[in-house]
């Protein structure tokens, strides 16, 4: 080793060399510089807009001129609690709950099979099987169901071929959930919601099931648990955080959606449609803003409960 070689080398100089030395000496400055662009973007553009919106829910609309009166008031919230508006909220929450429940039931076997039986190629197949519909176009998915549920569409045709048309007609004649055809009934809305949000339920459920160690199931059967008991007392409780994590998506997405019920469903409004209508043609931004507070509050409560169940670890 040549003793003449210096032990402390000079910096490489130039703009980048100097800048690099400065950043290295000031790790906090480096962190600040990295965080500033995303935080400014999200903080100003996103949070700023969000708070501006929420603030507007405390303004009201002048009934005569139709203009917004910029005075703090709870009048808009009183308006939100009118029976016709409460109806919309109850309808939306009921639909969200039904959709969540159905998604959990349909998703569980897929997630369970993928997590505990599928191996190698099949594993990838199942994963992509949930992934591709998740990422494929939302509108195309809705469009596909418009085709399926249309009066002249494939579902009616299948029922006819199976000589089950009376069953379909009997279902459609049930009040509330029935209607003229499937595409203008709550049943149709419900099916499309379940279809569109199902992958959001499969993936977290599968992830939670994958994390259940085999030894735990073996321990249960070793202790005399029948397969059904093992499922009920060991597997299901351990999978629950995953199901709850999935339900956050299905519930939240249903609460805020306004396109599905607009295209497939009856003419009665959901929260999303009400928001859309009030901000658009009616120009009643305060009421629209107050309506958006409803899903925010519901999701806040929901997330709080989910957090207590440990669902965030399963995301």
């Amino acid at each position: 080793m040549t003793a003449a070689e210096p032990v402390i080398l000079p910096g490489r100089g130039g703009l980048f060399g100097t800048l690099s030395d400065v950043l290295w000496r000031n790790p906090r400055l480096t962190l600040l510089l990295m965080l500033a662009p995303p935080l400014l973007w999200l903080g100003i553009i996103y949070l700023g807009s969000l708070f501006a919106l929420l603030a507007q829910s405390f303004f009201s609309i002048d009934e005569f001129s139709g203009l917004i009166r910029y005075e703090w008031t709870l009048k808009t919230y009183a308006e939100l609690l009118r029976p016709s508006n409460l109806d919309i909220i109850v309808r939306t929450v009921t639909m969200a709950a039904a959709v969540t429940l159905a998604s959990a039931v349909v998703a569980f076997p897929i997630a369970y099979y993928a997590a505990r039986y599928a191996r190698g190629k099949w594993k990838a197949f199942f994963y992509l099987g949930a992934m591709l519909p998740l990422w494929s176009s939302y509108l195309v998915k809705i469009y596909a169901w418009k085709l399926i549920l249309a009066k002249e569409g494939i579902l009616t045709w299948i029922f006819a071929k199976l000589h089950l048309t009376p069953v379909l007609e009997a279902w459609l004649s049930i009040p509330v959930i029935g209607g003229n055809s499937l595409s203008v009934s709550y049943t149709g809305t419900f099916i499309v919601f379940v279809y569109v949000w199902l992958p959001y339920m499969i993936l977290p459920t599968q992830a939670a099931l994958e994390r259940v160690p085999d030894s735990m199931l073996e321990a249960s059967s070793d202790l005399g648990g029948s397969p059904a008991q093992t499922f009920r007392h060991v597997l299901l409780p351990l999978a629950l955080p995953g199901i709850i994590a999935g339900s956050i998506f299905t519930f939240s997405l249903t609460l805020g959606d306004y396109i599905i019920p607009q295209i497939i469903g009856s003419s009665r409004l959901f929260i999303g449609q009400a928001v859309y209508a009030h901000q658009g043609t009616a120009g009643n931004i305060p009421l629209a803003a107050a309506f958006t507070v409803v899903p925010i509050v519901i999701m806040g409560l929901y997330l709080w409960m989910a957090k207590r169940q440990g669902a965030f670890d399963a995301l």
Partner: protein, 271 residues
């Protein structure tokens, strides 16, 4: 349950799982049949006949091309912005421990965790409060905001998997911060960024809920489709467009899957 891992699945479970997967995929396959139907006045099944003519008709529609062009430009710019913002944020969160990391993660996820209509109407009312006219850039502003999370999720997962001593090793061998980024960090997170970028592109390309609030008079491809869904006027063209959209979105998703499959998963739950 004992032989869970190696044993055979109960028949009932197999049927339920297969049924679920068919429920997920058959509707999309149906689109492919409808794209070739000769029927143009209704959604009649079975199709009275098959034809290729609608492909040509769609090809010659300037409005479809314009909408497609706008969507591609919006998605490209939003993805580029999201890549920069998401990578910076992921690097800061996973490389340094600082007070408020959790808050930063939450802030990134929020635009996607809250229903899209809230993001949409919030941006719209902010634009009107600030007197910003609707334009190409108002669409991009909204899209980039919710695309950040996809890049962020992919980058954070890869950073977590990349050993922190690689960066130290590089500095130890004489590379300063920028050289380390170029020669070590970028090659190691490159595929994750590519995957995140593709998913962000797919997300932006398909977005309609926020876009209806931020687009003004402009028509992206999803907005064009939404108009057709609400008031069907040209069913055959819509069928063909739907089929093309399915094909075009599948490719980046498959590519993103193969880029990230060893180890971290595509952060799909963030859509």
């Amino acid at each position: 349950m004992r032989s869970d891992r190696n044993g055979k699945a109960p028949l009932g479970l197999k049927i339920a799982a297969a049924g679920g997967l068919l429920f997920l995929h058959l509707p999309i396959l149906l689109i492919f049949v409808y794209a070739f139907t000769t029927e143009d006045k209704s959604y009649q099944w079975p199709p009275p006949g098959l034809t290729l003519k609608w492909l040509a008709v769609t090809w010659n529609r300037p409005d479809v091309w314009q909408a497609l062009g706008l969507s591609v430009r919006v998605a490209a710019i939003s993805t580029a912005l999201a890549l920069v913002l998401g990578t910076l944020c992921a690097a800061a969160v996973s490389r340094t421990k600082f007070f408020g990391r959790e808050t930063v993660s939450l802030l990134v996820i929020l635009p996607i965790a809250l229903p899209g209509i809230i993001t949409g109407i919030a941006l719209r009312s902010a634009f009107s409060l600030a007197d910003i006219p609707y334009s190409f850039w108002t669409i991009v502003l909204g899209h980039a905001t919710f695309c950040v999370v996809v890049v962020y999720n992919n980058a954070v997962a890869r950073f977590r998997r990349t050993s922190g001593s690689l960066i130290e090793a590089s500095m130890d061998l004489g590379a300063d911060g920028f050289q380390t980024f170029r020669h070590v960090v970028l090659p190691n997170i490159g595929t994750a960024l590519l995957a995140g970028g593709m998913l962000a592109f797919a997300l932006s390309f398909d977005e309609v809920i926020v876009t209806t609030f931020t687009a003004g008079q402009q028509t992206t491809l999803p907005i064009w489709m939404l108009e057709e869904l609400v008031r069907p006027r040209q069913r055959p063209v819509t069928n063909v467009v739907a089929m093309v959209v399915v094909l075009v979105t599948f490719l980046p998703i498959l590519a993103a899957y193969y880029l990230t499959r060893d180890g971290d998963r595509i952060a799909g739950s963030g859509k």
